[in-house]
Subunit: 335 residues, 2 copies
DNA sequence: ATTGTTTGTTTAATCGATTAAGCATATATT
DNA sequence: AATATATGCTTAATCGATTAAACAAACAAT
């Protein structure tokens, strides 16, 4: 690898100490009273040699890396892909780069990722916390490393977070179905103790109760890494065996997609036989034979806000901020 | 931020020099003949203080960062998202982390990204090169920084690359349509001088010529950042005004998706009125009213191979390797 | 007793940039 | 003329880990 140019090379060529070069290239020539001719000469030589500062050296000395550690569930998932993209762009604006990893919803993997990223001295973290990661997150926050949780949060921890108001999202979606006359409404959710999932379920239950339909509450729990067969089993139970559900609310994108695959091969038609509300927009929703009505989280806004919160912390803010954004409801033809 | 434990802290607590601590924690206690008791003590104290090496310091000293710079067009695009995911996992296996950026198909942005990543001393690059980035890539490769191009390559540059055999992909797809009796076949492509696009067009043309259909060759070029209106204009021209095209081959995923949106609102039906071959699998393809037949690139394999090639280079390999993988053809009901 | 070898440890340089502190000159002030 | 202040630059420590080289003590060989 062709040797990179260092401050020292410039200093030698100009015939001054590295201190002066550093001052000039960091725009401190006034403050540090560097002679005009020298300033000019240093600038020239730096340009001529195409000098690029070694950020590693700078980081070691300064104690920061201008790097954000970003951990999502799976970057191959378009929802998180978009989130990462927004965070990347926003972080760049503030001079930060992003080191990232996918947790696969596995708290052990999360722990390992946090370790590597810490060793690499990231300045702060933006994390989509998986189930059971409370301890890992707590440990991190006790080390006083800036963190922002996004998309989810754990109960009762005093950590910055950016979420939508999940309760209202499903509450409104349920009411939308109720208004349309559906009564036997089921919600399809993941097994999860994390805030968003319990809120999503909570919003649905509340809306059902308000209509006096507590007996019709059906909560179908499916594990995170489910197969299409798992989904088929659950939906068969809900739609055929059990109490002939008339409408389904899905609470994550991947559950929604699995649900669509089910109806693609089912006798039952959407919305004639069953109404369908999906979660988090997807092109597939648009191309389903009856385009799917869905709840979307404002990913762009969430990403931006999370960076903003993190930067605030990095700039010394000590107060905990929990941001709640509003979801959107895209009405198409599946209900 | 709670002060991190350094080698020095351990050294002081044990009462030895940092050299010994470093030897022991790097498993060189035999080679460097460190006393047994001392080894034990150092290990104990390191565990007790929960020591984590500062990778920044280590990198500065060693001259490597164990970091790969990864630049794709847009990480929010599921195709690249998956690619990034695979590369991330594969790199981790070899002890590398990934610093990434999205170029937005913009060669200037690519240049800026390369600069930042170089300043951060990444050990090597995996890049999806955008149009017009020849100079930037060349400059990088002249600095003898290991690079692997993925998904695309520029003509006549002696750089490692991982691509599918694009020529054969469209050649076979075209023959598939010809076998089914379609004659008026058009290809929808991006304006691009990059290898894959010209090969994709080339394979199509060759197959058409072999059937003596050179007069029926229709190449419709659409710019990378196109709107659905752009697509509609092009397809209207091909299907309504011009020579009543019977079949369409799309050459990228986003072109395919735009195409699907067109047919979603069109009088013309797939495949009765027009046959449709998409590019790079997508859930949307499965949910279109007549599930789309498509060409897929083996993203996982491509990602893995690219990491393998890069690691080889990082381990000192000097020979240029150009890998060509085979595409797959998923037959559904759109032709 | 002298020299050589092995064992176990420390010293100090190094990576590249930053920056407080110190040291000359030159100029201004009394 | 003596002192103060401003100007312009250098020295050297620092961040944390690695590692060649030097060193001391114990032991073995002659």
């Amino acid at each position: 690898m062709g040797k990179r140019i260092s401050l020292k090379d410039i200093a030698e060529k100009v015939g001054v100490s590295t201190a002066l070069v550093s001052y000039v290239l960091n725009g401190k020539e006034k403050e540090k009273r560097v002679g005009k001719d020298v300033v000019k000469k240093i600038r020239e030589v730096a340009a001529e040699l195409n000098y690029r500062p070694n950020q590693i050296a700078r980081s070691l000395r300064q104690g920061w890396t201008k790097t954000i550690g970003l951990i999502v569930a799976d970057i191959a998932n378009p929802f998180f892909g978009t989130m990462v993209r927004v965070i990347e762009d926003e972080a760049n604006k503030f001079g930060y780069n992003v080191l990232f990893g996918s947790s696969d919803e596995d708290s052990e993997k999360l722990g390992a990722l946090i370790d590597t990223l810490c060793n690499r001295q990231v300045d702060g973290f933006i994390i989509v916390p998986p189930e059971g990661s409370d301890a890992a997150i707590k440990r991190l926050s006790e080390r006083e490393i800036p963190i922002v949780l996004i998309d989810r949060k754990m109960k009762g921890q005093n950590i910055d977070s950016v979420l939508i108001d999940n309760y209202t999202a499903t509450y409104e979606a349920t009411n939308y179905l109720l208004d349309k006359g559906y009564k036997r409404i089921a919600i399809v959710a993941n097994k999860s103790s994390l805030n968003p999932m319990s809120e999503r379920i909570g919003g649905y239950c509340e809306a059902m109760k308000e209509e006096g339909l507590e007996k019709e509450i059906h909560i179908e729990l499916i594990k995170y890494e489910h197969t299409r067969a798992d989904m088929a089993e659950s939906l068969d139970k809900l739609l055929l065996k059990e109490s002939k559900i008339e409408a389904l609310i899905f609470t994550t994108n991947s559950l929604s997609i699995s649900g669509l695959y089910y109806f693609r091969n089912s006798e039952l038609k959407v919305p004639e036989d069953v109404a369908f509300i999906g979660f988090d927009g997807d092109e597939a929703f648009d191309f389903f034979y009856s385009p799917i009505t869905y709840i979307v989280q404002p990913v762009e806004e969430m990403g931006k806000e999370s960076v903003r919160l993190l930067i605030d912390q990095l700039n010394g803010s000590r107060k905990t901020v929990q941001i709640r954004l509003k979801h959107s409801f895209i009405e198409q033809q599946s209900c």
